[in-house]
């Protein structure tokens, strides 16, 4: 291990070290902690100028109910779920198929196809913005959740293919040879060999793509217009325009938007990190 590990028996040194790192984390997350604190601060206190002191009165319930009752955040939240969940499922299905074929059926051009999938992922969103928007308008999908679902499935399949291909390629080859020796068709191999084995990869991929899609802002503003379909990210930004001075409400809404990915991250941290380092794709 590098740097030199602090030995087990150096108790004081260890305690000091942990204390120091805690301090660094506290500074690192200070902006977020400030927003969290503001989200439970009462309006009167903000009016009185207590922005940074410890809240005298906790308005957690008031502020968060205000977000639900006085803003459309709940609607945006549901929209985000309606967009994100089907997109993630679509990405998982398509990338299992593409990853399986690209890892187990070598053919001429397979590397080229793979490179296209991976390279496409780094393209700046703006290069495809106009045609994608136009396509959705022509398909009458513009300003519906389907526009975002179709786009996210298409785009994330690029990254997810890289992910699934690497995972399936790393599975023991004997399994595939045995299945083929028994005369299993590719479809049977997929069903009986691949699908049972890729569950852990699917879990990692699901959480990663969930985060990417949930957090998307650009396509949310390019492909939607009305509040009835807007996801949380676009909704939050609009809210800021309307509630300029009600920082406690904006903060509560911000925490509300951040919560699902953060919770998922803490639940499935190992998968998330391994997925991210394996893909190293998120820009």
């Amino acid at each position: 291990m590098y740097p030199r590990p602090i030995p087990e028996d150096a108790k004081t040194k260890r305690a000091l070290y942990i204390g120091g790192v805690t301090l660094v984390v506290a500074l690192w997350l200070l902006p977020l902690v400030a927003v969290m604190l503001t989200s439970i601060r009462s309006n009167e206190e903000l009016m009185a100028g207590n922005y940074w002191g410890w809240p005298q009165k906790f308005s957690l319930v008031e502020n968060y109910t205000a977000v639900f009752e006085q803003t459309a955040m709940l609607r945006f939240f549901l929209n985000s779920l309606l967009i994100t969940i089907p997109s993630v499922i679509g990405v998982l299905i398509l990338s299992t198929l593409t990853g399986f074929v690209l890892s187990r059926y070598p053919f001429r051009g397979s590397n080229l196809i793979f490179a296209l999938f991976v390279g496409g992922n780094f393209l700046p969103a703006q290069i495809m913005m106009i045609p994608v928007r136009d396509l959705m308008v022509r398909l009458s999908l513009y300003d519906t959740v389907y526009a975002l679902i179709v786009f996210h499935i298409a785009f994330q399949t690029g990254f997810a293919t890289l992910f699934m291909r690497n995972f399936i390629a790393a599975l023991p080859g004997e399994l595939f040879q045995a299945a083929r020796a028994e005369g299993a068709s590719p479809f049977q191999v997929l069903r009986h060999v691949v699908v049972p084995l890729v569950r852990p990869a699917l879990a990692a991929l699901a959480i990663l793509t969930f985060t990417f899609i949930w957090n998307d802002y650009f396509w949310a503003i390019v492909l939607t217009q009305s509040d009835a379909v807007k996801p949380v990210t676009a909704g939050l930004n609009n809210l800021r325009g309307e509630w300029t001075s009600a920082w406690n409400i904006i903060s509560a809404a911000t925490i509300f938007v951040a919560l699902p990915p953060v919770v998922m991250f803490f639940l499935m941290q190992k998968h998330f990190i391994s997925g991210l380092t394996m893909g190293a794709v998120k820009g």
């Binding site: 291990m1 602090i6 927003v35 703006q126 290069i127 495809m128 045609p131 179709v150 997929l190 920082w247």
Partner: protein, 294 residues
């Protein structure tokens, strides 16, 4: 047909399995990207007919002062973002200790990474708030007044890019931690025997082994800096007076707000050409890494 199927199914089934993903991706992502180049050669309001104008959009772009402001800001983003790999490495080195409680601290460091850029934008909007923000609090401690960074044309880009740095550092940190976990213990041990310590050890023993991860961190950071959009859109909408815009945002503005889709497409194409060099560089490195691992 059944006979044809039986004879050819060994290759047709894989082909059929590959097609849905491939077609969707090619149509929505790849074809669209090429279409943009085509659109950039037209004058188009997004609804009516496209008028062929050849390279006129590019000629106009070359004379557009706003384009150079965007380009300059993209470079500023790039320079500021270059801080992410070293800071990420420093943080990774700090938390790379096995002490009780370190694991939870480590994951707390990663939190900015899972936040939406809009969230980061709102959070830093609060930090930079000239009356009540965190920055003002810090300046206040010393009896000063914080500058209104986001409404100051000299500082807006710096402020926005610095906010964007926050999740980027976390990302580099994740990469370097993975790299540190794969260090060759024998080499470190040999280094220690030879009396290498601290900076020397880092420079001569550790960094060479992290070169692959470092390459990925730098490449991803460059690409991230060049395609920055969300933070600008959320924090300043390119203002004040277009001083904090970047190519990605200028492109969006020209298309969506000014209905100049052809001109927007030209900006997107320029951004794409700048980025393709870095994307190719990155892919080349990835393939090399994959070969050496195999």
């Amino acid at each position: 047909m059944p006979r044809f199927w039986r004879r050819n199914r060994h290759w047709m089934t894989p082909a059929l399995l590959l097609l849905p993903g491939l077609i969707l991706f090619s149509l929505v992502i790849l074809a669209a990207s090429f279409e943009t180049v085509w659109i950039s050669l037209h004058d188009w309001d997004g609804i009516g007919a496209k008028t062929w104008v050849g390279l006129a959009n590019y000629v106009e772009l070359a004379e557009d002062p706003q384009f150079y402001v965007s380009l300059k800001n993209n470079i500023i983003w790039l320079l500021i973002f270059m801080l992410a790999p070293p800071i990420g490495l420093a943080l990774a080195l700090i938390v790379n200790q096995q002490i009780r409680g370190m694991r939870i601290l480590k994951s707390l460091f990663f939190v900015p990474l899972v936040l939406a850029t809009v969230t980061v934008g709102v959070v830093f909007g609060w930090v930079y708030d000239p009356t009540y923000g965190l920055l003002q609090l810090i300046f206040g401690l010393f009896g000063g007044t914080a500058p209104a960074l986001l409404s100051d044309e000299n500082f807006a880009t710096l402020a926005v890019a610095t906010a964007g740095l926050w999740p980027q550092i976390a990302f580099c940190m994740v990469l370097f931690l993975a790299g540190l976990n794969n260090l060759n213990e024998d080499l470190i041990g040999a280094g220690r025997v030879d009396g290498a310590r601290g900076w020397q050890m880092l420079r001569h023993v550790v960094l060479p082994q992290l070169s692959q991860v470092g390459f990925i961190a730098i490449a991803v950071t460059v690409i991230g800096a060049l395609r920055s959009f969300d933070m600008v859109a959320v924090m300043t909408t390119g203002g004040p007076y277009g001083s904090s815009t970047v190519l990605a945002y200028q492109m969006y503005e020209e298309s969506i707000f000014s209905y100049r889709f052809g001109y927007g497409a030209a900006i997107a194409t320029v951004l794409f050409v700048i980025m393709i060099a870095f994307i190719a560089w990155y892919l080349h490195g990835l393939i090399k890494a994959e070969r050496s691992n195999a």
